[in-house]
Symmetry: C2
Subunit: 509 residues, 2 copies
């Protein structure tokens, strides 16, 4: 790199480090608010977060940011950069252009509306009153449509939204993979529903001491290789993971006396997110790519640890004895196999967040199809409940008895997060596809799990995925790791094989 | 206020709110680092704090700040302000001018030196090697001398430093009050030392379970009226209190198995700081005066709760039974009176932070006199150890056997905090003087304490002191509350009366 470019890169790095600092501060302020901040300080805290978020936005969209990203996007200077540096410039430029393309007063109006809309949604859900929420959702959608025009339409209008969560992903690609997945999962779900071999779950119906749940959760985090010197585990209403930097990754869990399963799989789920963040390469720290590659890739790691490892038979053969020690009264007469079956029970249920590994994807596909209809086919907000209910009947064979248990169940749309839902199932598909490669490259995979030796698995994922952070796109990652583009058959194969055995389904059916 | 001034005030308030936001964020980042942040994130965290502190400094010294404070300092516009608004303008202007008067490159050089100097001090203390620290301290003093010239000399050079911690305080005034205090305490300490009636403390020599200590600490905080919905209590290496805003005030404590007394009185000390911060008027939130009036006034509240209430006989008559429940084995055969005597034992010791209520002030007076000699009389840094040891011999009758236990014991000077020490004893004097008024206005003071009814005392302090925050100067507060300027006799009277009884001293001596 020429000397003057080197100097410019140094200055640009200073700006990026500053941006990282603001992100860390905001991350901590939010974490604190959700874990232990006193109630009476919450209003002031919200304003403080607003102040810093405003400053962060100002930095990301500053003339300075424009100047550096313009300079380093030019072929002559871009050619002097490393691949990682080019990715940084690209991402910053994309964010910069996206934000600068919106008239500030429109963005501000949208921010205010989104907050009101979330409040309206909360009330509407509590009162099972879609009509009261509809006008807010109308406006949110109208704003998004307006913004899509500012941002620029990519192939279809909905592509523009998808790209915000999964860079490079198109409606064409999602249609293809979700279509294929749906065509294999709908019959699987039907066969499971008509199977007579239902797992017993009555031993999970009792009450489970919260402190014991917490201890077992910490044990699980230790088992998967969560580094407690580079992170911590706390309690909050809803479990979440937040990476302030790779040396400070925090997860939370909730402990419900009547739901042992929830804290166990939340620990593994958030733990999976955390392993990713803790193992991002040190060289990326202080840049905007010291984070997961996308929502979908991030979710692939939480799902892989939660479901593909955490809901496997060898895992419970190894760890069920430990769980029994924490709950001797409730679990003394249960076998590891019975527990394994119980935590893999499939049910056609109404609520996405409570769904099992198989039906979960159908919940997502329904949301994806509806979002696409809204933005690409002019589906009116007024018609959402009817479309929602029809799809639930078609794919899952059930019709929500209320909107609260139907179209109003998720917060996402109220805040304008259209395009986000797909990430969850993309995560499942990425995970299954990566897992297929992992099992080929670590042939003693099941023995490792059964022996409680999970570190070789974590290290494989670290080397192949985690260290890269956001320095590659999702499609670059999946192709480099597995040798082929995203392919939904791996997930379908995995689910068919696993649940055929659990539900004793005929292979020939 | 005229309309254009109103508009300007609104904009100024926006800047102040932003500054408050940065302070809250930095406060939380530091609190977190000292309570539970994972070790491996500490380096990045330090940089993040640096980023935000830099931005805070930029805001406080911005042209914008200069413009608003200039505008509202002019007689015509100042006349339209309330008293509180004028205090805000004054404080901001003072801070602005102080910071702007330093050449940025000199301030930066000083900041770097101060960090190196603290590290050098740590090593010097560990190795009992004053010579290795001396060159750093030389430079720190030289910088402070240089800065005093930039800041402007107030009466004497040392006054400029005193004023930073205790606005308006002069060397003349401190000479007067410390001189008077010393003349009464030195003989008191001698009489105590030669008394045959030493309190027994052997029952404090055992080990005390940390969890029980923590529970009792929380109990004490509840007793004094700490609001757990507007604050929290955590553990850290050194106890501290930090007010993020009046709705979020956090204290910490440490629990040493071989030192029960430490956690008890730290809870009351930090709790006293916290009561002050929690009860600052809501109207001040978002301004720079939503904090304690000065270091000294703040310390008066921690000392008042720790010593004047917490080390009183009625307090332990009420609460010793509870303490016994936590430590039945160690304390079952101890009476409240014996415990009261034990926690008030006076010893001529070497270390300030471990000193009792009486000798503590002599430790401070020694430091004050030395600092004054450095800045006003040219005492050389090389001669500090000799002067230190001579004063310890003169006032306390002991000579430190090493510099680690002498001149190297405190961190303050290594970081350039000259002028700070005086605050501790000012706090004791303010507290005793306020207490005198409080006892007059709440004549059943001792009965309230004995009945465990501390809220009327807290509410008196709240109404007289806490709600004002920093909207008055220390001297305005002490005169409004007690009807007279700072008077050291209240502290001397209080200590003489209390310890005459404890040590059975002859009144006539």
């Amino acid at each position: 790199m020429e000397q003057h470019l080197e100097r410019e890169w140094e200055l640009f790095s200073g700006l990026l480090a500053k941006i990282s600092g603001y992100r860390e501060a905001i991350g901590l302020l939010q974490w604190d608010l959700r874990t232990g901040a006193p109630r009476k300080g919450a209003d002031v805290r919200a304003r403080t977060i607003g102040t810093l978020a405003g400053e962060l936005f100002r930095l990301e969209t500053s003339d300075e940011m424009g100047r550096y990203t313009d300079l380093f996007s030019r072929p002559a200077s871009s050619a002097t950069l490393t691949k990682v540096q080019r990715k940084i410039v690209e991402d910053c430029r994309k964010e910069y252009e996206r934000s600068r393309s919106l008239p500030p007063e429109r963005y501000e109006a949208y921010t205010v509306l989104a907050m009101q809309s979330e409040t309206a949604w909360e009330e509407a859900k509590a009162n099972d009153d879609y009509a009261s929420f509809e006008p807010f959702l109308q406006q949110i959608v109208a704003f998004k449509q307006e913004f899509i025009d500012y941002w620029g339409v990519k192939n279809t209008r909905y592509d523009t939204l998808l790209d915000m969560y999964e860079p490079g992903l198109t409606t064409t690609k999602v249609d293809e993979v979700f279509g294929r997945l749906r065509s294999r999962l709908v019959p699987l779900v039907q066969r499971i529903a008509s199977s007579a071999n239902k797992p017993k779950t009555d031993f999970l119906d009792g009450l489970f001491d919260k402190e014991q749940q917490e201890k077992f959760g910490v044990y699980l985090l230790e088992q998967i290789g969560f580094d407690f010197e580079a992170g911590r585990a706390d309690e909050s209403v809803h479990p979440f993971a937040t990476g302030l930097n790779p040396g400070d990754v925090r997860i939370t869990n909730h402990y419900l006396a009547d739901n042992l399963i929830s804290s166990i799989f939340s620990a593994l789920h958030e733990g999976g997110h955390a392993l990713y963040e803790q193992n991002i390469a040190q060289e990326l720290v202080g840049t905007p790519i010291a984070q997961g590659a996308s929502m979908g890739i991030h979710e692939s790691q939480s799902r892989l640890w939660e479901n593909m490892i955490g809901r496997s038979l060898p895992f419970w053969k190894r760890h069920f004895g430990k769980l029994q020690q924490h709950f001797p009264e409730q679990l003394a007469r249960v076998t590891p196999e019975q527990f394994y079956l119980a935590v893999n029970k499939v049910e056609n249920s109404l609520i996405r967040t409570e769904a099992d590994e198989v039906t979960y994807n159908l919940h997502i596909i329904i949301r994806y199809e509806i979002e696409k209809q809204i933005f690409n086919e002019g589906l009116s907000v007024q018609d959402l409940p009817a479309v929602w209910n029809a799809k639930y009947q078609e794919y899952l064979g059930i019709t929500p008895p209320s909107h609260a248990l139907g179209v109003l169940q998720d917060v996402h749309w109220s805040g304008g997060d259209f395009g986000y839902f797909a990430s969850y199932s993309l995560g499942n598909m990425y995970a299954a596809q990566m897992m297929n490669t992992l099992r080929r490259e670590l042939p003693d995979f099941e023995e490792l799990i059964a022996a409680g030796n999970l570190l070789p698995i974590r290290d494989w994922l670290k080397e192949k995925i985690y260290v890269y952070g956001m320095s590659e796109t999702p499609s670059e990652i999946i192709e480099r790791v597995t040798g082929e583009p995203l392919n939904p058959d791996y997930l379908a194969d995995y689910l068919e094989a696993k649940y055929r055995e659990i539900y004793h389904l005929e292979a020939s059916e």
